[in-house]
Symmetry: C2
Subunit: 190 residues, 2 copies
DNA sequence: GTCTATAGAAGGATAGAC
DNA sequence: GTCTATCCTTCTATAGAC
């Protein structure tokens, strides 16, 4: 039931999905649906809030090669960008952005559990690498944010707007490589 | 009539706006509306396509101080980021992202006239500065994209998601300053 | 808890007069 | 070109039986 609603809302957005459609997809009656969720808003909020517990980049990637900053950035960057460009990720992003004004808690939940959480995790890694003398970042939060910005630019915007062609592996790897290069030029200890 | 529709669609999105509401806001009857636009889809497409002729950063900014790369980057970056964070810009972005799947031409028009156009203009500037020996960018397109990414990171995402607080001048200037610093570390001739 | 059936409102679109 | 009035569909939500 939640699964069916999730798929519909993510693919088509709040306005385009009716409670009839959800009931049909979940193979229950509309009355049953309303027995579990007070309203369409409540169902939508539940669905999307649940989907905000994101797992962008697995913890192991941060520890794969602690001594090699470039390799770790390439690994993390690749994982992150690939994650961003997944159809499900893009669909969720579209829905949340679209409804963030009418459902402010939703935008906030997404922000805190998604972009902000990843930035903080990355910033912690930057701190750690700086202490080890392998990076020289005055402000780890800014450095982390900038690395994310370097990755997200271009491909993600194009994909969010559903402009073909869909990014291929070559484009993704080139973007990651360029991001790592620029990041290291700015933050490698000299 | 177009004005009323534009305001409503941009503020509330496609699904939340009815033709009744547009007619009321424009102070005409629904029949009159349908005499000018074949359907709600057609009205929406017209509205948003028109709004895609963006003017992100005025041409003069690119020529304000040709010899000073840092100053020009700060000027352009500031203008661009401020533009991105305007309520109207954010509203338009939300609508286009939300409906880009159901209205592909719309996402494409926005992409071409907005992000892509600005990136190309910026890349042309990078070429020019590189030829003058004031920048050293192997790939101007990538450099331009990266500068935009450095600017767009963080604040724009938060603002898109309508997460308070709204970015203030201090945050904006700090972001621009950090972007310029990182960009120059990566692309200043050595 | 789950169903069928339906209320009640709102939406997109049109007919036909002026 | 513009209006009033209306058609028909679809939507959210609920009543009441099992």
């Amino acid at each position: 039931m939640l699964d069916a609603a999730t798929e519909l809302f993510m693919k088509q957005g709040y306005g385009a999905v009716s409670m009839d459609a959800v009931a049909r997809a979940a193979d229950v009656s509309k009355a049953t649906l309303y027995a579990h969720f007070a309203s369409k808003d409540a169902l939508f909020a539940t669905i999307v809030s649940d989907a905000c517990c994101l797992d962008t980049v697995d913890e192991a990637s941060f520890w794969a090669d602690p001594a090699d900053v470039g390799a770790t950035l390439r690994l993390i960057g690749g994982r992150f960008l690939r994650y961003l460009l997944q159809p499900e990720t893009l669909a969720r992003y579209r829905v949340v952005v679209a409804e963030s004004v009418r459902f402010p808690e939703l935008g906030a939940a997404f922000w805190v559990n998604g972009p902000l959480a990843f930035r903080n995790r990355l910033a912690a890694w930057v701190v750690q690498q700086s202490e080890a003398g392998r990076l020289a970042a005055d402000d780890p939060q800014v450095a982390a944010e900038q690395f994310i910005g370097l990755l997200r630019s271009g491909l993600f915007m194009r994909a969010s707007l559903a402009v073909p062609p869909a990014p291929d592996s070559r484009e993704i790897e080139a973007t990651v490589e360029a991001a790592v290069t620029t990041f290291l030029r700015a933050f490698a200890p000299r």
